[in-house]
Amino acid sequence: MGLAAPGREDRRAAEAGVEVRLDRLTKLFGAITAVDEISLTIPAGSFVTLLGPSGSGKTTTLNLIAGFLTPDGGDISFDGQAVGAVPPHRRNIGMVFQSYALFPHMTVFGNVAYPLRMRERPGRAHLAARVGETLAMVGLSGLEHRYPRQLSGGQQQRVAMARALVSRPRLLLMDEPLGALDKKLRERLQGEIKQLHRQIGSTFVYVTHDQTEALTMSDMVVVMHDSRIVQVGSPRAVYEAPVNAFVADFLGGANLLPGEVLARQHACYAVRIPNGEVVAVPHLGGSLVAGSAVTVFVRPEDIRIGASAASAESQVATPAVIREILYVGEAFRVTAMIGDQPIVVRAHRTEAQQVEIGRTVSVAWPTERSRALDVTT
């Protein structure tokens, strides 16, 4: 302990987080390919989320990084060192499991002390200090002598966090750690986990199927689908500029209108949408030729409706027939038909009051908020 006390900040900065690199990583379960040649670099100290529906390979990827599974192809390296031959208990990782996986026969203290006892053979006083410090970090001071079954779900989750963090691992893996909690608690813990990440500086790899969680917490979101990585980027990039219809839809309500490219102009495609109108969609260097099928993507919150849809430059405006108006609390969910295709609009109260079911109104969105998604990817 004498060694650690003076330069803890330096030490923490120096060994903050580990860079994890996956290189054409593959895992098969019998005839099923669970992870299919994925390559990814997780920068040291970043908060990266693997996001995808169940069966997309995200948990398998996490278990490969932990070392619980042996890859059938490809490599994993930490800071450039291949870890293929390193067993899980020597990888120096902290992990939070979906079921928490607390040791039921040990107290909170015993659970949190476990990694230190296994890794360092600490003295009694040092052990108590480190455990106390970590429990304080997750707000559980005073519960040292309780057993896991005597704790609430949220408290169990915090014990799992404390156990994962106590030995200051440079890599922390989290497998849907908030999946079993109610919404309110989940939102609070999201903030706390983010704060812990800033405080500790380790690399966090987080697995979830909840897109809101991924967007609010991550520095980088890795969207997985069918055992592959479909898109890697900042939360804004994956939300606002999805590479295909799957990502667009998975990250939140997305309007996906089928269309046909009529021409490629200097910054935009001219696209015919289902009501027969032609709208401009940024091509952003895309290379679709006239005649190709395309999906026009635009988020519900980017669309204005009725009177507020009029005027404004660089907008696309087109007629649509109102089909449904739903009250969802903080806003209204208006469904309008563009030709035979529904489009969902997140409307403000004032907008919603101006429209009626069955009426034809104008819907509009800023051109730069729409994307042309290649239907073949």
């Binding site: 932990a66 070392g67 619980f68 067993p87 899980p88 208990h89 990888r91 990782i93 902290g94 992990m95 499991f97 979906q98 079921s99 928490y100 996986a101 607390l102 040791f103 039921p104 026969h105 476990y114 990694p115 296994m118 890794r119 896991p148 079954r149 779900g153 169990q156 156990r163 994962a164 030995s167 893996l173 999946g179 079993a180 909690l181």
Partner: protein
């Protein structure tokens, strides 16, 4: 609904009475004050307990049974627990067959086992030895341990062991420090069953160990054949008490480690 539940209670009560009545009769007779078996006993006394606990032959029989049973429970645990781990975690092909093989010991007729073991033991010099009988009883004790531990492992969240491993415990340490303590109740249940199985086994005991030392089961059997007096009932009641103690141990073991409360999604 209420009528149905009352009927269910009635039927359950009758079935229990049918099953337990012989035991109750034996227990009552063991407190009899007369020299012959009669029910209900004309008077109550503890004379038959005094008789068996002051008779060296009976005390010896209890002691032999205790030794054989303890050794059987120990060996069944040492062999059965690893077998259960292997069956539930590592065997992928032929699991059904291996399971059947382990359980076969329970359904093989005792006479066949007894004779086979007798012939097998003669050249090995294991006849009339306590370890000899314990080895033979272990064959039937292992299934109790395997069944219980396999069931317990099936309900065990493997992530708990993974949590130990990822946080620095070697695989062996994770099993001994985390998994075994958690499934300990199942192991104890298996061991208690193995012990009780050994204590009540008669046929193999007669073949393997009956000329010099007699385990309780053999002594009871011979007692019933030679002279019927309430000392048999007293010995039987003592054994019943042991069994009840064993079951209480099992219940306490189960209570000690309830699973972690998990929070449901809904």
């Amino acid at each position: 609904m209420r009528v149905g539940s009352a009927a269910l209670k009635g039927v359950t009560g009758l079935v229990l009475l049918f099953l337990l009545f012989p035991v109750l009769v034996v227990v009552l007779i063991s407190f009899s004050s007369v020299d012959f078996l009669s029910f209900p006993p004309p008077g109550l006394s503890l004379r038959w307990y005094r008789t068996i606990f002051s008779d060296w032959q009976w005390i010896d029989a209890f002691w032999v049974t205790a030794q054989v049973g303890a050794l059987t429970a120990l060996l069944s645990t040492l062999l059965g627990v690893p077998a259960a781990f292997a069956l539930s975690r590592h065997v992928t092909r032929g699991r059904g067959m291996l399971n059947a093989l382990v359980l076969a010991a329970l359904v093989t007729p005792s006479v066949i086992k007894a004779l086979a073991i007798y012939l097998y033991y003669v050249p090995l010099g294991l006849l009339n030895t306590i370890p000899g009988l314990a080895f033979a009883h272990t064959v039937s004790g292992i299934p109790f341990v395997v069944i219980n531990v396999v069931a317990s492992l099936a309900g065990y969240d493997r992530d708990i062991e993974r949590a130990a491993t990822i946080h620095g415990a070697s695989p062996v340490r994770a099993v001994f420090g985390v998994t075994l303590p958690i499934i300990a109740p199942a192991i104890i249940v298996g061991a208690v069953f193995a012990f009780m199985q050994s204590a009540q086994e008669l046929l193999i005991a007669i073949f393997v160990l009956s000329t010099l030392q007699k385990p309780l089961a053999v002594k009871l059997w011979e007692g019933v054949r030679v002279a019927i007096d309430p000392s048999i009932a007293a010995a039987t009641t003592s054994v019943t008490l042991l069994v009840i103690l064993g079951l209480v141990t099992v219940m306490l073991a189960n209570r000690r480690s309830r699973p972690v409360r998990t929070v449901a999604h809904a």
